[in-house]
């Protein structure tokens, strides 16, 4: 990221203006993120602890939790996501206005975790694009706060003049998949202890 005031080229006045706008916009966005909590399991308990007085993510600009996707900036999926909820989180994500980000909180939301079975989505990145993955089972509030700070860092690296990045996600086809089927199969492969079980068992 270019620093403000740095001379980039002979055309630096325009570049500097863009940087100034980016700095102002990104700082505003990063420091007033409105989270949309999508809590489905024990991660939501840690999420609530993060929101409460001891850890208090209002210190990082998340003063207002948006319980409506239409007023939310960042979707925090806290907990496992069963296939039955896949169309729900997809619809919530689609209802959120741009710019929007997604934090996948915990092992289950990120990979399926211990639930390598018929009912569970193996990572919400097969359903919606994810910006920050927070590992842990569940992550401690410090972990989620670190993830939020990483998201701040990512937001501050974006540019308002880069139209590609903020474009609405294009689904692959009318089936609603955002990744090719081979990719979904690949990232849903078992790992850890569950490699000892076969699909047919």
């Amino acid at each position: 990221m270019k620093r403000i005031g740095e001379v980039q080229s002979s055309n630096y006045l325009v570049a500097k203006f863009q940087d100034l706008v980016d700095w102002a916009v990104n700082s505003s966005r990063a420091n007033s993120l409105w989270p949309m909590p999508f809590g489905t399991a024990c991660c939501a308990i840690e999420f609530m602890a993060t929101a409460a007085s001891r850890f208090d993510f209002a210190r990082f600009g998340m003063e207002r939790q948006a319980f409506s996707p239409r007023q939310a900036d960042v979707l925090i999926c806290a907990g496992r996501l069963p296939f039955k909820l896949a169309p729900v989180i997809r619809r919530i994500y689609d209802q959120m206005p741009q710019p929007k980000w997604v934090i996948s909180m915990g092992a289950c939301a990120s990979t399926g975790g211990i639930f390598d079975n018929y009912a569970m989505v193996q990572g919400i990145d097969t359903i919606v694009p994810v910006d920050v993955y927070v590992p842990g089972c569940p992550p401690r509030p410090e972990g989620l706060l670190y993830g939020i700070l990483l998201l701040h860092k990512k937001i501050k690296g974006e540019s308002l003049f880069d139209h590609v990045r903020r474009r609405d996600e294009q689904l692959l086809d009318e089936k609603g998949l955002r990744l090719p089927p081979e990719t979904i199969d690949e990232i849903s492969e078992p790992f850890g202890n569950s490699v000892h079980q076969f699909r047919s068992s």
Binding site: F83, K84, P87, Y118, A119, K175, S201
Partner: protein, 199 residues
């Protein structure tokens, strides 16, 4: 008790287990509920057990409790392998059996004859992979992960409302247009066709 209905009665760990013939189930249950001295007025749970041993029958298990007598009894019905997986619904005796029997239907595929609204309850209505708690069901499901994601995304999140619930909401006048359309059609969605490779 009713002659010919009880196949076997076992006392195990201080709990009474009674095996009842499938055809006589409703009769036996009505006896247990309505006879003075029995008074099993509370249906705690309905579940089913399938064993690894393919020769053993699948059992549908009913947990009954008498709130007045503080007594418990467990009723089992055996469904022989190869025979039709169906028993009579006890909904007419305990209305609490409604969702319990729906869950057994959803997970094991046991049909409850006379149930007023036998639909899936945990999995969504167009779930096409089978009955997850059966022993021949693979742990990760029958379809590939990509196919599972595709079918899940194509499922209608609102399809779990029954027609009765929809008509109640429509009477209030706050039903969205697509749900009203569904109520008019009276259908619950279609099962998407899996690709030939996934089957």
């Amino acid at each position: 008790m009713i002659p010919g209905a009880v196949r076997e009665a076992v006392a195990s760990d201080g709990e009474t287990i009674v095996y009842v013939a499938r055809e006589r189930l409703l009769e036996a249950m009505r006896y247990l509920k309505d006879t003075p001295g029995q008074d099993y007025d509370y249906l705690v749970d309905v579940t089913a057990v399938e064993f690894r041993d393919r020769e053993r029958p699948l059992e549908v298990v009913y947990f009954l409790r008498s709130l007045t007598r503080k007594a418990d009894i467990r009723i089992k019905v055996e469904l022989q392998p190869g025979a039709e997986l169906a028993v009579d619904s006890v909904y007419s005796l305990w209305h609490g059996a409604d969702w319990l029997e729906r869950e057994v239907f959803d997970m094991f595929g046991v049909t409850f004859r006379g149930h007023p609204d036998l639909r899936r309850i945990l999995m969504w209505e167009t779930y096409a992979e089978g009955y997850p708690l059966r022993k021949n069901f693979p742990l990760r499901g029958r379809f590939s992960r990509a196919e599972q994601v595709r079918q899940a995304l194509n499922a209608n999140p609102e399809a779990h409302y029954s027609m009765e619930e929809l008509s109640i909401a429509a009477a209030g006048g706050d039903l969205p247009e697509d749900m009203r359309e569904r109520l008019r059609r009276g259908e619950r969605g279609t099962i998407p066709e899996p690709p030939p490779s996934a089957a």
